[in-house]
Symmetry: C2
Subunit: 438 residues, 2 copies
């Protein structure tokens, strides 16, 4: 049979990244490390379907994330539930906890490493399908503030193992922003926070203009706001600087006390990268207390590589019980794209194969398979070349796949085994029962 012209010539779909084998090995290694770290701290794994009912995805009101809906190609949409792809892992987790609460042990500590989908315009570091690595705790009635510190410590531990060239965890508390604005006499605090959130993008002049314009703050009050969001300190030194601004409100006091508690508890964990940074607002509206995000110090314009916070009422959207939570999310695909783009990880491994086992001839097939099977039983990843090609072809394949060893089973009955160290170029006799990697 000869090949006809292809019926369809494929091309990459913008925003849906896929990796080459060398990159996939890096992705898997990072996923394995993240999973191991999450499990080290006692979190259990969870996976939820890609699909949720639209009512779940929209339960907190319209989201600013673009949702993908799904329909059967030949479906009659009548009578089918309206379904969509999840846009984050927190909402499905909250729905899961509400649905299965009677089967779970609280405090329920879980992690989840899965893709999410957003129909947004793709740009640098922003994809339509991307993996998030989430870790959350939900508890009955109250979720311990110590957990905010634990989660930040875990995120720090995970990121610290990656070759990111430095990162910073910026931590804040929503109550500080709300309380401060309320203390200034503002009622529409959420609108003002949305304006303050744009500081990095539009600069202080435009922020001040918005605050005094649409939102009706005095020039003095707007100046206070800008001073507040410029506060960024390690530890709890931020609290004194807030106090010096002379604004007072019970919600502000609560927020300062909570952030202080978290910053102090965090000292028990790896925390070098952590700063209390009062400019952090986070767009998502389910956060109610602690909020944080992580950025790369070498690429400040790249956007956040992780984020999280407390959500007192999210699970309650789906349940009569009070089940507050706190969580963190690491943007693995975004991080990987940067690592690849900047060449921060070596892509020198095209396979995890320990040795290629040469296929000498049809007659020696069973001996070659038996040799490979023996090496596999001993824990090696042993790949058999799939047919008795010329030796040069088989060695070239091993070279191109960067396989470190080539194993030569007997070329005739009763012959010797030999192994070649491809890097050192040395070939010598070896026994499949006892050989170990030099």
């Amino acid at each position: 049979m000869s090949s006809a012209a292809p019926s369809y010539r494929p091309h990459p779909i913008s925003g849906f990244p896929e990796w080459l084998p060398q990159q996939r090995i890096v992705e898997q290694r990072l996923m394995d490390e993240i999973r191991a770290t999450f499990e080290r701290y006692g979190y259990v794994s969870l996976a939820t379907p890609a699909v949720e009912e639209l009512d779940v995805l929209l339960a907190k009101g319209e989201t600013d994330k673009e949702i993908y809906t799904i329909q059967r190609l030949h479906g009659d949409s009548q009578g089918e539930a309206r379904l969509g792809l999840r846009y984050d892992l927190t909402v499905p987790f909250a729905r899961y906890v509400a649905l299965h609460q009677n089967a779970l042990v609280f405090p329920f500590k879980r992690y989840q490493i899965q893709p999410v989908w957003r129909g947004e315009r793709p740009q640098e570091g922003r994809f339509r399908e991307f993996y998030q690595c989430d870790i959350d705790v939900v508890d009955q009635n109250e979720v311990s503030l110590y957990l905010d510190a634990e989660l930040l410590g875990i995120v720090h531990a995970v990121l610290d193992r990656m070759p990111l060239g430095g990162f910073r965890l910026r931590i804040n508390n929503r109550k500080i922003l709300h309380g401060f604005l309320a203390g200034l006499g503002l009622a529409a605090t959420a609108d003002a926070i949305r304006v303050l959130d744009k500081l990095d993008k539009i600069g202080p002049e435009k922020v001040a203009a918005s605050l005094t314009g649409e939102l009706g703050l005095s020039a003095d009050a707007a100046g206070q706001c800008l001073r507040l969001v410029r506060i960024a300190t390690p530890g709890d030194a931020f609290a004194e600087q807030v106090a010096a601004l002379g604004v007072s409100h019970p919600v502000l006091d609560e927020g300062v006390a909570e952030l202080r508690f978290v910053m102090n508890a965090l000292r028990a964990y790896p925390h070098r990268s952590a700063v209390a940074d009062l400019s952090i607002a986070r767009g998502f509206d389910y956060y109610t207390g602690t909020i944080f995000e992580g950025v790369l110090t070498a690429y400040p314009a790249f956007g956040s590589i992780c984020a999280g916070g407390r959500y007192e009422n999210l699970v309650g959207t789906f349940s009569n019980k009070r089940l507050p939570g706190v969580g963190a999310s690491i943007g693995l695909t975004r991080i990987l794209s940067k690592l690849f783009q900047e060449g921060l990880v070596p892509l020198d491994t095209a396979s995890l194969t320990d040795m290629l086992v040469v296929f000498p001839s049809e007659a020696m097939f069973e001996t070659a398979v038996a040799t490979a099977e023996r090496l596999r039983l001993r824990g090696f990843n042993a790949e058999l070349y799939p047919h008795p090609a010329k030796l040069g072809t088989q060695l070239k394949y091993a070279n191109r796949k960067q396989v470190p060893f080539v194993w030569f089973p007997p070329f005739e009955p009763g012959g010797p085994h030999e192994v070649k160290d491809m890097k050192a170029g040395i070939q010598q006799a070896a026994d499949p029962e006892t050989w170990t990697r030099p």
Copy 2:
């Protein structure tokens, strides 16, 4: 804050299974084992996006699998590519190989463990979202028949580790069916194969009636067909039985020779479960040679738990090059659902935590964290109770999560460490620097 009435009460979505933590631990363990086995044989990992262009999903003509399309909820569909969720992993893999062929080393051996989606009516063992574990090889011009045996050996090795209570791999070759029917003088061999594929469901009388009716075979010829598809033998004994039917055609000879080769090569691998079974047809139309499926011997009506075959022309649908392939797919979600339903796996582990570290008091927080961090560095999964609750509460939590050990850090500065073996009920002094699991 008190909880308001929930805005939406969630419920499970039919066909989209999600597991409890105890079940998820089993799923992850099986996935890890499958992955390790695939890597043992030198296959590299690949992941493709959930989404493909509809043109890719439909490139081989209308599929019998119900495809889900995706649309942005607020999207203007004008000018957007028509996208759908993959319904298997073979078509995306073929598209991947065609797209990235210049960056790949051939023979290209890859595995892929990801979910797929089909908008079919959910029923026992049939889901709308389910994980497949695929392993395939694509090569230039020709893909070695030895690989059919290797893949069957790998599938056997994977399934053999699962508590399935016996399974059978039924192996056939499409060319035998096509060639036999052509040898009987039939032109529309594909239609006849579709009829023969229904043998298990509708029985021999109805199959014979269809063959002599719509397809115009003589009663004699229909009888020959039924005799052919009843042939099932271990090893290559099937060949003699086919020859005894006295039908001759070059394609039939080719199919018999190929199946004979595969059955003989398979003897070098674990193969106890393998039979040449000429009734296997497999619905998918991209298979051209070897086809196979696996069934549970204890649950013959449950449907196939794995399947695969050779596809000479699938990658060529997307490329000018000749890139034939052969692959196998294990239906992990279907298998899991059966294991859970029949109680074939113990669900006695609710976490992978080695020890719960007690949180004695606010004052001892830093000591407790330091103890847990020390144990983590030593390789233990150590979970810190999240706040200084009553000791009884903390122990009850450890019990409910089936955590095997509870670690008591000092309750006052300079105090001793102790550890309690929850099963044995023994509590004794321990050093976090040296303690090992008894």
